[in-house]
Amino acid sequence: MIRVVLPQHLRTLARVGAEVSVEVDGAVTQRSVLDALEARYPMLRGTIRDHLTQERRPFLRFFACQQDLSHEWPDAPLPSAVAAGKEPFLIIGAIAGG
């Protein structure tokens, strides 16, 4: 199981706690994790990635294992600790707004 930490507003929207777990078949990448997350919580569609382009929304960032993965290729493998369920994949709202 892949662990995913959501920002506060998306926890409220999905009616979940800080961390959720999703099952991913095959390679564990940003795309496959987000696909699994959106399949389980359809209300999150469009809130993390653009509906049409599937690009990360500009004010969200992706982190894991002390690394900023926001600009990684969506199909690049996530760190093995994430794939093993030892570390969470973090979706963070950018600190913006003054």
Binding site: P7, H9, L10, L13, M43, R45, G46, T47, D50, A94
Partner: protein, 371 residues
């Protein structure tokens, strides 16, 4: 016993204000969707407990929420707004072509004839329709594609479709308005459209008879007279008696004819309300006095309504979707300010009182009269 439910959208959540027909004591619930911008909420006229809300944020984009119990509980429904085909370009502020990009839903208008049909006016300007209670959305692209689209340009608040008026006598006819393109009418349910801006005059537009390019802030219509339209334009209050084919200025004795909202009394089709704002560079009331102006003659002759409203040091704005009326026997009028106040009058504007004073900046106000 009649009840009134006021739906308030703010920069940081939605609030629902309810009262009995006396409209003296109010119950306030919220914030719903705390921290999110709620551009608009509106209830279905066929099923008043069916509410829709436009919820958005710069971080997470657009959501649509639906309630089936009058706003006690909500569920997120469809938020996929995709322009039909290749969207093309409109004009950017500097006049250069700019691709159409979806930003947010400004206005939701539930159908008068089908509880599962709802229209959405969006930025960048387009009209969407859902026929499954908000689960899926399809663009009525005849509006954007009718020919003038490449010449539309955003106003200061963005290129938004903010007004949707449905004709109660003709399900195929509706009117919409876009800032800053103008007003448009369809007679076939949104398949084809025509601009209805003849008679509008906008300073600095090179062509004084420009078909589009007008910064319409808001339009209103009384349901009993769908051929009579009222408009608060960027400057000028306007009136049409022929469903928009032509417009006449009715600003009359207003102290300033800049403003955002305009609305019509529920039982008197010639009684209309505006909130004059000093200017486009000073978005606050003239002389620091918050005054609603009422005309009982469909324009030109206006009276200031001040009782209960702050008459000194008031520098709030009242945004275009932030005024509404109820349909009780003595018509109630309501408006919200960017200072977070929602004012109500239970006697058609003669006397006002704040219902709530310290909300986030109010973006929209709608009223449901529940019998």
């Amino acid at each position: 016993m009649s009840k009134v439910r006021v739906l308030v959208g703010t920069r940081k959540g939605a609030f629902i204000l309810t009262s009995d027909g006396k409209r003296e004591q109010w119950d306030i619930s919220g914030p719903h969707f705390a921290g999110w911008e709620i551009y608009h909420l509106k209830g279905s006229p066929l099923d008043p407990d069916r509410l829709y809300a436009s919820q958005s944020s710069g971080w997470f984009g657009q959501l649509i929420q639906r309630s089936s119990d009058g706003g006690k509980t909500w569920e997120a429904v469809g938020n996929k707004f995709v322009y039909d085909g290749v969207p093309g370009t409109h004009q950017w502020y500097d006049g250069t072509p700019h691709p159409w990009e979806f930003k947010r839903v400004w206005h939701l208008e539930p159908s008068l004839t089908d509880a599962d049909t709802v229209y959405a006016g969006v930025e960048d300007a387009a009209l969407f329709r859902s026929t499954d209670a908000g689960q899926t959305w399809q663009e009525l692209s005849g509006l954007r594609r009718h020919g003038t689209g490449p010449r539309w340009q955003p106003g200061a608040g963005g290129m938004c479709l903010h007004t949707i008026l449905l004709d109660p006598g003709d399900p195929g006819r509706m009117f919409i308005a876009i800032s800053a393109a103008g007003a448009f009418r369809t007679g076939d349910g949104g398949q084809t459209w025509q601009p209805i801006n003849r008679g509008l005059h906008s300073q600095f537009l090179p062509d004084p008879k420009a078909e589009v390019g007008h910064c319409v802030h808001r339009m209103a219509m009384h349901p009993s007279r769908p051929n009579v339209l009222f408009m608060q334009k960027h400057w000028d209050v306007m009136r049409s008696d022929d469903a928009g084919n032509s417009w006449q200025e009715v600003s009359g004795n207003l102290p300033t004819d800049f403003g955002f909202p305009i609305d019509v009394h529920a039982h008197e089709p010639e009684t209309i309300y505006v909130v004059p704002i000093k200017s486009d560079s000073e978005h606050f009331p003239l002389d620091g006095k918050l005054r609603v102006y009422r005309s009982r003659t469909g324009g030109n002759q206006w009276e200031a309504l001040t009782k209960g409203l702050p008459q000194s040091n008031c520098y709030v704005n009242v945004l275009r979707d932030a005024m509404a009326v109820d349909s009780l026997d003595s018509c109630g009028v309501y408006f919200g300010t960017t200072g977070g106040q929602v004012y109500g009058s239970a006697d058609a504007g003669d006397h006002w009182a704040p219902i709530v004073c310290d909300l986030p900046a109010v973006v929209s106000v709608e009223v449901q009269t529940l019998r």
